[in-house]
């Protein structure tokens, strides 16, 4: 058991920060939701919402 833990720790040491990001599905989920929410949805909605309303 102790050997297993040591092996895992060594594995963790070898993993680059970049790989740790790629291996974290919830971080990727955050990026995958935040990017389109900001650049597509919020920006697009702001554009439509700021169209002046035509006078009757």
């Amino acid at each position: 058991m102790a050997d297993d833990n040591n092996t895992d720790e060594r594995d963790d040491e070898k993993i680059s920060p970049w790989q740790q990001i790629i291996d974290n599905p919830f971080l990727l989920l955050f990026i995958g939701v935040a990017m389109p929410t900001v650049f597509y949805t919020l920006w697009g909605v702001m554009e439509v919402a700021t169209i002046p309303i035509a006078p009757y």
Partner: protein, 578 residues
């Protein structure tokens, strides 16, 4: 205690609950495909000018049901099956919260039935896009919301399964590339479904009178975050299926895991922003928004698809060359198992998606040249290349693979199964190419009668447009024949196929669990880490390791460049400058 069985042919492990849910989702998906395909025949025979089968009101009802059934129900039900396969089977893990997964499946089925009942009731012929202020029956929106909630539950069950697998250390290192691709699909699905909730819940409230008004421009912006992103789930998932089939059929390993994963990362960052190309002609939205989301972000997602389009056949070529098929540039491809529908379906999916869907997609995503084909029949031509040739054919190829592995039945009619991808691929390629050609001549996308008979401001298309629509009609009939063949072979195999193990009875083909005796409570051995570094060290040192794939990639690039500039030439003819 989680129960697992091991497939004696492939060595894959199946968690009992996950296996049943994979079957149930896949079978429900194929039922939706059957409905969508039957309706497709009616659509084809109406848009074929010489036949013009249905009256206008029936046509719009049928087209609405066809679009929703094919683009939403069929692909997403099957995708949930893929997620459970990628999360549970490929990671040798139990499925997280199978009861929630069952609840999600029930919600999806109930939602699909509600929506279709509303459409066939005749008062919800609002097309898949359901643009306001067209108002459908409230049950139409409610059905879609229930379906979306069910799919969202499926995505979180998948993400939960990743956590279970990591905590229980069922695998070493990073998740396999196919599972990584499925994760990307699930991430895109979460954004897609959230966008659906943002717009469909208010629209439902509007349909029952609680909200007085929905801004059509606002609706279009948010709806397309659902409408187009739902097809991006397909892209991420069918690319994962390409990698899976390349691995299973050829033992192929990705040419570079790092490059393939980086390409998937580009999907996470940029793929969903491509939804903006549906709004190229919308007033009130700035060019900055349109150009950033398409001409910058979308091109990076296209780059990712081109990388996958290079690395999948490249991996196959490397694997084939290692087996001694080294003569010339294409011996590896000539001697590929073209009679195996798993491979042929996957390869037609890859080529059709790249050459037809990919190239036309870039044209549609360029603000200037998009204008000449906007809202024409070119658009259905494009998305039948991406979603039907690309996604549906990948799903079909995977189904042929899974009939013996997952359902434990031998496939019936093997000679017809060999032909099926070619019939379906040929027919659907004709639909895509000739619809795109007719769209270039301006044929309207959704109009029941391209002749505009009886309208005071009619428009006469050149005779060529009628010819092109006729040929597309013939292609559609061929494609429907191929689709029918798929349903007959797959459903027939589940019912009449020879049992590969005695427990695989009729009900077990449709999601009822196998007897406990088929399973063991012994935990599967830990999935070893793939030796990626060793494989990558093999690659890249000898220069052109996959010359055939390089030539194919260059053909794609040259075709793309030529077609792109042809469209600029068309544009110059639309507005002659003195």
């Amino acid at each position: 205690m989680a129960l697992f069985r091991q497939c004696p042919d492939t060595g894959l492990f199946f968690h009992k609950e996950a296996e049943n849910l994979m079957k149930a989702n896949a079978v429900a998906g194929v039922v939706c495909l059957l409905i969508a395909g039957t309706l497709a025949l009616l659509v084809v025979l109406t848009r074929w000018p010489a036949v013009h089968l249905l009256p206008a009101d029936t046509f719009y009802m049928v087209l609405t049901a066809h679009g929703i059934c094919a683009l939403i129900f069929w692909v997403i039900l099957f995708e949930i099956a893929i997620l459970y396969f990628a999360g549970s089977t490929l990671l040798r893990s139990r499925l997280a919260t199978p009861r929630w997964a069952c609840a999600g499946f029930v919600l999806m089925v109930v939602g699909a039935i509600m929506t279709l009942a509303a459409v066939f009731g005749g008062n919800s012929s609002v097309m898949m896009t359901s643009y306001v202020p067209m108002r459908a029956d409230p049950s139409f929106y409610l059905g879609l919301i229930l379906f979306a909630v069910g799919a969202l539950i499926g995505c979180f069950v998948y993400l939960g399964t990743l956590v279970v697998a990591k905590n229980e250390k069922t695998y070493e290192g990073s998740v396999p590339l196919v599972t990584f691709g499925a994760t990307v699909a699930a991430i895109i699905a979460v954004f897609t479904i959230a966008s659906g909730a943002e717009i469909l819940i208010p629209t439902y409230l509007w349909s029952i009178g609680y909200i007085s008004h929905i801004d059509p421009a606002m609706y279009r912006v948010i709806w397309w975050a659902l409408g187009h992103s739902s097809q991006q789930i397909n892209v991420a998932a069918h690319v994962a299926v390409w990698y899976l089939i390349a691995g299973v059929v050829f033992g192929a390993r990705p040419m570079s895991e790092k490059v393939s994963r980086a390409a998937y990362l580009l999907y996470i960052f940029f793929l969903q922003l491509a939804s903006a190309h549906h709004l190229m002609t919308d007033p009130g939205i700035s060019s900055e928004w349109k150009i950033f989301n398409t001409s910058y972000a979308m091109y990076l997602a296209v780059l990712a698809s081109m990388i996958h389009g290079l690395t999948v056949p490249g991996a196959i070529e490397v694997a084939q060359r290692k087996k001694g098929l080294t003569n010339g540039a294409f011996e590896w491809l000539r001697k590929a198992p073209w009679g195996n529908p798993v491979f042929s379906g996957m390869f037609i999916s890859l080529v059709g998606f790249g050459f037809l869907g990919g190239i036309s997609g870039v044209v549609m995503g360029t603000e200037q040249i998009s204008i000449i084909i906007h809202n024409t029949i070119y658009v259905p031509g494009h998305f039948h290349a991406t979603v039907v040739i690309g996604t549906t054919m990948a799903w079909m190829a995977l189904t042929f693979l899974l009939i013996p592995v997952l359902f434990r039945r031998k496939m019936i009619l093997p000679q017809f199964a060999k032909l099926q991808p070619y019939i379906f691929g040929l027919g659907m390629s004709m639909v895509a190419v000739f619809h795109m050609a007719a769209g270039t001549l301006g044929v309207a996308r959704r109009h029941w009668d391209m002749g505009f008979a009886g309208n005071p401001l009619g428009f006469e298309y050149p005779a060529t447009a009628y010819l092109l629509m006729g040929i597309a009609g013939i292609g559609g009939v061929i494609a429907v024949t191929g689709g029918a063949l798929f349903v007959i072979i797959t459903v027939g195999s589940l019912i009449f196929g020879e049992k590969l193990q005695p427990e695989a009875g009729l009900l077990q083909s449709f999601g009822v669990p196998l007897a406990d005796s088929a399973y063991s409570d012994e935990k599967p051995a830990r999935l070893p880490m793939a030796p990626a570094e060793a494989v990558e060290a093999d690659h890249g040192e000898a220069g052109f390791e996959a010359p055939g794939t390089f030539i194919l990639a260059m053909v794609l690039l040259v075709s793309f460049v030529i077609y792109y500039f042809i469209n600029w030439k068309y544009l110059s003819e639309v507005w002659g400058l003195a």
